[in-house]
């Protein structure tokens, strides 16, 4: 596929890197030649210098042959203009990144697809949604929900007293046959493995388990966790994400929001009726103490500055806050932050890139997600009637070792896959995969 990406910021760069690895043809446009040179020296792309709103530049990028145009510059206006021009010049599909929730709402009265924009992404909204689901699933480090929670993948860090420690997966599975869950991956010593029945659970493993709503309780118990009900939440940073999280939570919990900018904090206080808005620096320990950080159940650090977020989350953790959620937008920091003991990480750039990549994978991908900090992707596919995946039982189809079928949603009900499961046409299948096997998996669904 020929994919034109306008904007080589971190979303664009991450997308280019991921897609060129999957042997797509990538043309990158950016007005900043330094960014382009950087991207061009690290990925196999064709770099075109210029503004993506220039018609000539788009033509130079062979837009008329492009299967997909992705406009992800830092400016919403540029993205929308680029997508509209690109569509008129012949791009088959156009995606634009926006920074304003108004565009997404169904009563905006504007039909964007008529303008030529097939899809709008708003990474901040997605990040906020992910934070909220983490708040409701307090024991998990990661939560991915499919079809409104019919199936979910939970990331669980194994405690010392977890009952499964030092036991084989097959043993545990045997003992709890009544429970619907399946271990899809284990993250251990910064490496992600797809386990077999003979692998053992070890202390401090991060285990990824897929389960349906009934299995959640039991999965948590086996990991030595229980789901707490949170009441007091502190948010650091009143940007788009912080504001949106406060909006979503303020009805059910006590929310405190810290923002350092004076005018911004006044505006926030005006709009968030049930949130206590505080003005101050989140790294100021006195302020945190005064506002009762010790009594907080969760601390959410979502300022623009990754360093501030990391430091303040560590401080919160140190002061005994049960759960911290940290926005880290620098991809290179992710492996580091895991080793220093932060609970959950959010990266809006990865979220955005994943949301876009589902347009690219063939074979009816419904959703793609990356679990922060581990080297694996989760795909949701529709199994077509007659596709290879539906021909035999799972244990007989020789599915790639680097991937695992977690479960499927059939007739609006979540089922966990086991060796004897037979996939039917029309099932929505959740696949957990290490990088680089997507091509092989696609064949099974095509």
């Amino acid at each position: 596929m020929l994919i034109v990406i306008a904007g080589m910021g971190s979303v664009g760069f991450h997308l280019a890197k991921q897609l060129s690895k999957e042997s797509h043809d990538i043309v990158a446009i950016d007005a900043d030649s330094e960014k382009l040179t950087y991207a061009g020296s690290l990925t196999d792309i064709l770099a075109i210098h210029g503004s993506s709103t220039s018609i000539q530049t788009l033509k130079d990028a062979k837009i008329e042959k492009a299967d997909l145009l992705v406009a992800v510059t830092s400016s919403e206006e540029v993205n929308i203009t680029t997508a509209i021009l690109g569509k008129k010049l012949g791009a088959k599909k156009c995606i634009a990144r926006v920074g304003n929730a108004e565009y997404l709402s169904s009563n905006s009265g504007i039909n964007f697809s008529q303008l030529g924009i097939d899809y709008l992404i708003y990474p901040e909204e997605m990040a906020a949604q992910e934070i909220v689901s983490l708040i409701f699933r307090t024991a998990a480090t990661d939560v991915l929900e499919f079809e409104k929670g019919k199936l979910s993948i939970l990331g669980l860090k194994l405690d010392k007293n977890a009952p499964v420690i030092q036991r084989k997966i097959s043993e545990v599975a045997h003992e709890y046959t009544s429970v619907d869950f399946r271990i899809v991956a284990i993250h251990r010593n910064l490496k992600t493995i797809i386990p077999t029945g003979n692998d053992k659970f070890l202390f401090n493993d991060q285990v990824f388990v897929i389960t349906n709503p009934e299995g959640i309780e039991m999965s948590l118990k086996l990991a030595g966790k229980e789901n707490l009900k949170f009441e007091n939440i502190m948010i650091l940073g009143g940007g788009r994400i912080g504001k949106r999280v406060a909006e979503l939570l303020e009805g059910t919990m006590n929310v405190k929001l810290i923002e350092s900018d004076e005018q911004k904090s006044i505006d926030l206080a005006d709009e968030l009726k049930n949130t206590l808005v505080l003005r101050g620096d989140g790294r100021d320990i006195d302020l945190l103490a005064q506002e009762g950080i010790i009594d907080m159940d969760a601390f959410i650090a979502v300022t623009e500055d990754a360093e501030t977020n990391i430091i303040s989350s560590l401080m919160a953790k140190h002061l005994g806050v049960t759960k911290t959620i940290t926005l880290v937008d620098r991809v290179d920091y992710i492996p580091l932050t895991q080793t220093i003991g932060l609970d959950s990480l959010i990266n809006k750039k990865l979220i955005a890139a994943n949301n876009i990549s589902r347009f690219i994978h063939k074979g009816e991908v419904i959703a793609v997600a990356t679990l922060e900090g581990i080297d694996a992707d989760v795909y949701e596919y529709t199994a077509h009637p007659g596709s290879p995946i539906t021909k035999q039982k799972i244990k007989d189809i020789h599915f790639p070792k680097e991937a695992i079928i977690g479960g499927m949603i059939r007739n609006n009900e979540g089922h966990i896959a086991i060796g004897d499961t037979q996939i039917h046409g029309g099932d929505k299948v959740v696949v957990f995969a290490l990088p680089g096997v997507i091509k092989k998996i696609e064949k099974y669904f095509h």
Binding site: S20, K21, S23, D25, I26, V27, S41, D44, L46
Partner: protein, 482 residues
């Protein structure tokens, strides 16, 4: 440094080299040559060693190749290839001396075409073919060929591409470097085929036609005859070779666009216009000079002028006349041409037109800048402003090139060559032309150069082919510091 990945890829290069060697057997059999055992031993030996490296280090497949590894793979690859490539000559006994055989082979791979052989026609057909084959492999570059074949190189392939295809402009013809490499080789093979057919029509036999196609498109210059192209004494053959030397000296990106229906791409390119203009002027001058001062017909004057100027400018090195005999000042004239080179992105060597063009513009603008100290006057190329860092990189390259030329000339005169021959051979080897001036001029060869000089010139050929930095960087301390 990821040595496993380096050896893994070098293993692949050796397998390719070995296979190319084995393919030369076709001509040994066709012409009943006595060189079949030489090719069997060296071909099978080389591919086996390559295959073993490839197998032993197969775990390095797909591992990351950074810039540093890229430079090392390319430089080492070319050296190792030249070493193994010289085996058929040694084993057969046509060139018993290792120094001579290595010189001949690296001269082939770098498309220099400098020879130590006094009697080329004594070589069996298979060896003649292999000698020209080295040109053809080296012309577009074996690394580019590997990138076209190996699918998993990805970003690593790009690092390799940048190390082998040096130069100020590296046009990608396609978003993916593998596809770019495939297209470049396809154009190259296409032109080679056409030229071979045209030369067959001119009365050459198959071996000679292929060898001369290899020699002209790769801008190499090895001939199968002692008198080079002059042997045929045919205007048709001369003109065919003139055209294909010109094609070899033109940027292959432009050929790509032209073959896709945009013929106008040629004259829209400012470097091509400069190249064409430069050739026209020098040819016009030389033709008129020859016509009025030597008793040659106008056509013959034109043909001699065009053939020899293109041969030197595109760094081919075929000869149909001894240009030094035309008039004494032609030694100076051709020494200047030796330092020029053709277009970037072609198979030719030398400094390349675009570098002179940019520096020339820069120099002229400097005058304007003195008059208008506040004016913003960027150097323009193809209508676009060229960033200053590119200009300074080009200036550094040309400076370094001239410094090496100076030092090299000194070393060769120290080894006993007269000043004309010393300067001529250094310039001709660095620019991958082949015949230089005086002792190493168009009617003689490099057999008279002392052994030490041959090794030094071999080094210069590689330096020139990989455009200095890829080789020089390996000698820098920063390169080896982790």
């Amino acid at each position: 440094m990821n040595f496993k990945a380096i050896l893994y890829i070098i293993g692949f290069l050796l397998m390719l080299t070995g296979l190319f060697m084995l393919s030369s057997i076709i001509f040994s059999i066709l012409y009943n040559g006595n060189d079949i055992p030489a090719f069997l031993i060296s071909g099978i030996g080389t591919s086996t060693i390559g295959f073993l490296l490839w197998i032993i280090f197969r775990k390095a497949k797909g591992s990351e190749i950074r810039k540093k590894e890229g430079y090392l793979i390319v430089t080492l690859g070319w050296l190792v290839m030249s070493f193994f490539g010289s085996l058929p000559f040694i084993i057969h006994g046509a060139i018993p001396n290792f120094t001579d055989a290595f010189f001949e082979t690296i001269s082939g791979f770098t498309t220099t075409g400098a020879s130590i052989l006094n009697n080329v026609e004594a070589l069996p057909s298979g060896l003649l073919f292999w000698r020209s084959m080295t040109h053809w492999i080296g012309g577009m570059g074996i690394i580019v060929l590997s990138i076209a074949i190996l699918p998993f190189l990805g970003v690593g392939g790009m690092q390799l591409y940048q190390a082998e295809v040096a130069g100020p402009s590296k046009d990608k013809l396609h978003p993916r470097v593998q596809e770019t490499a495939k297209r470049l080789w396809a154009i190259y093979v296409f032109f080679t085929g056409i030229e071979t057919i045209l030369l067959l029509f001119g009365g050459m036999n198959l071996l000679d036609a292929i060898c001369h196609s290899f020699g002209s498109l790769a801008t190499g210059g090895f001939s199968t005859k002692n008198q080079s192209v002059a042997f045929y004494n045919s205007a048709y053959i001369d003109y065919v070779i003139i055209i294909f030397m010109f094609i070899g000296g033109t940027s292959f990106s432009l050929h790509y666009f032209a073959l896709h229906g945009k013929i106008s791409a040629y004259f829209k390119d400012s470097e091509f216009r400069f190249y064409f203009g430069f050739i026209s002027l020098t040819v016009l001058f030389t033709t008129l000079f020859l016509f009025f001062n030597n008793s040659l017909s106008f056509e013959k004057s034109f043909r001699n002028a065009t053939f020899n100027i293109l041969s030197v400018l595109t760094s081919t090195g075929f000869a149909i006349a001894d240009y030094e005999a035309w008039a004494p000042f032609f030694s100076t004239f051709f020494l200047i041409l030796l330092l020029f080179g053709a277009c970037a992105g072609s198979t030719s060597g030398g400094v390349k037109m675009i570098r002179y063009q940019l520096l020339m513009k820069h120099g002229i603008l400097e005058l304007k800048r003195l008059v208008h100290p506040h004016a913003v006057l960027p150097v323009r190329h193809n209508g676009k402003a060229v960033p200053n860092d590119i200009i300074s990189r080009v200036a550094a390259f040309v400076f370094l090139y001239l410094v090496i030329f100076g030092i090299g000339s000194f070393i060769l005169s120290f080894l006993g060559l007269d000043i004309k021959s010393a300067m001529g051979s250094v310039a001709a080897c660095m620019a991958n032309i082949g015949p230089g001036l005086g002792l190493t001029g168009p009617v003689s060869n490099y057999s008279g150069v002392p052994d030490l000089g041959k090794w030094f010139l071999s080094f210069l050929m590689l330096l020139g082919r990989l455009e200095l930095y890829t080789v020089l960087i390996i000698f820098s301390r920063a390169f080896w510091k982790e």
